[in-house]
């Protein structure tokens, strides 16, 4: 079984930055990523609020730069989805706790400290037709599938920044883009609301929720209910893009570290979770702001805090 000082789960901006810090301080570090390094940030076309890039920077390019920087200090990156974390108590005498990780391919790793940077995934609507039509018109990523809907009618569900951003992107291709949102006004920030309002190809349907995705083998439309009047109507669409929020990827840690009711991990200001030696950073944390810039800052803190933990464990032999 391979042993590490620090294992990081997740290769988005938080995990990569944590790895940059730990590898640079000569900790033996492994980063496990389930698809490919970059995280959700690698799906963004332009990141406009990451400091130092006044013209904005392409998501994949920024992530590629961070990855290269981490690998320069010999951060080891492997592909593998972690399904289970065990706290072993085999070293009872010294009361040293060693976390053990098992990934899908049956590989096992041992580590002194663990950094969780697994991020979030899109929340589903949970309505009839949605699951069946994923990949057949139902999508959670406009920047991935948008261009396939050239000159078609599409709807975007959600009223936050992400929904507006995706709707603006889709309006470049689609014949008509309708943003369906529950409230009276968009939840999105002022700059996004203004961009949306000045886009002639965007239409809005407020106080409305999607109650069903229609279509047999591909999306034909959606059923929409007005939450104020209770009236239903059917809207023709070939694409349904869902952006109603995110859920944390923390199922494999249930019962191990403290989480809030939605599953976001609770940490202190040093990114330490309820279990000493386990840290969390990035979108997976319970917090106010989920951006690349906050993910990087937290990754750095988690990396340093985990490094201090490893030092104590190694040299003082007590924790």
């Amino acid at each position: 079984m391979s042993k590490y000082d620090i294992i990081i789960i997740g290769g988005g901006p938080a995990g990569l930055t944590a790895g940059l810090y730990t590898a640079r301080s000569k900790m033996k570090t492994l980063l496990l990523e389930k698809v490919a390094p970059g995280g959700q940030a690698a799906l963004a076309w332009a990141i406009e609020n990451y400091p130092g890039f006044p013209e904005g920077i392409d998501g994949p390019e920024l992530m590629e730069r961070i990855r290269r920087q981490a690998e320069k200090y010999e951060l080891e990156i492997r592909v593998g989805e972690v399904v289970k974390v065990e706290l072993s108590s085999e070293d009872e005498r010294s009361k040293r706790k060693v976390e053990r990780i098992i990934n899908t391919r049956g590989e096992e790793y041992k580590t002194v400290a663990l950094i969780v940077a697994t991020g979030t995934r899109p929340k589903k609507l949970g309505v009839t037709g949605e699951e069946r039509l994923i990949g057949r018109g139902v999508s959670y990523c406009a920047t991935c599938d948008g261009p396939l809907f050239k000159n078609r009618k599409v709807v975007v569900v959600g009223g936050g920044d992400a929904a507006v951003e995706e709707a603006l992107f889709l309006s470049r291709f689609a014949e008509k883009t309708t943003l369906i949102h529950r409230r009276d006004e968009l939840r999105a920030t002022k700059i996004m609301r203004e961009r949306a309002a000045s886009n002639p190809k965007l239409e809005f349907m407020s106080k409305s929720v999607v109650t069903e995705v229609l279509g047999e083998t591909e999306v034909e439309g959606v059923k929409v209910r007005n939450v104020e009047t209770g009236k239903d109507l059917t809207l023709e669409a070939k694409g349904v893009f869902v952006h109603i929020g995110n859920i944390p990827n923390t199922a494999f840690l249930k019962g191990i570290v403290e989480m809030d009711e939605e599953g976001f991990i609770v940490t202190n200001e040093n990114m330490e979770t309820s279990v000493s030696g386990i840290y969390a950073c990035g979108d997976v944390r319970k917090k106010l702001l989920r951006q690349v810039v906050t993910a990087c800052g937290e990754g750095a803190t988690a990396g340093v805090a985990a490094g201090q933990y490893v030092q104590k464990w190694k040299y003082k032999k007590e924790i």
């Binding site: 389930k34 490919a36 799906l43 994923i134 018109g137």
Partner: protein, 107 residues
């Protein structure tokens, strides 16, 4: 190496193939497609001789992508004896893709 598929060679290379075929429907603007591309290439080498791996650009080949109703990419479709065996949408974990390949090749 993966085979470059198009509307013209699809029948010969995929539908008439003696070995099972994994087709990766992709486009150059698709971020997740680029993310999984290295894994697809490795798979093509690892299973060479037992599984044919092909890539079809959906922008350049509307007939084939239309026929198989591709509306999200990457979409992976497994073909055997000219028939669709299985289909998966989105950036798959390599382990999941290989699990499907294992089923199809009875390994």
């Amino acid at each position: 190496m993966e085979i470059v598929l198009n509307d013209k060679n699809f029948e010969e290379q995929v539908l008439n193939s003696e070995t099972p075929v994994l087709v990766d429907f992709w486009a150059d603007w698709c971020r997740p497609c680029l993310m999984v591309a290295p894994a697809v290439e490795e798979i093509s080498r690892k299973y060479a001789g037992r599984l044919k791996v092909g890539k079809l650009n959906v922008d350049e080949n509307p007939l084939t992508s239309g026929k198989y109703g591709i509306q999200s990419i990457p979409t992976f479709i497994f073909f055997k004896d000219g028939k669709v065996l299985d289909r998966a949408v989105g950036a798959m974990f390599r382990a999941d893709l290989e699990a499907k390949i294992g089923e199809i090749l009875n390994e």
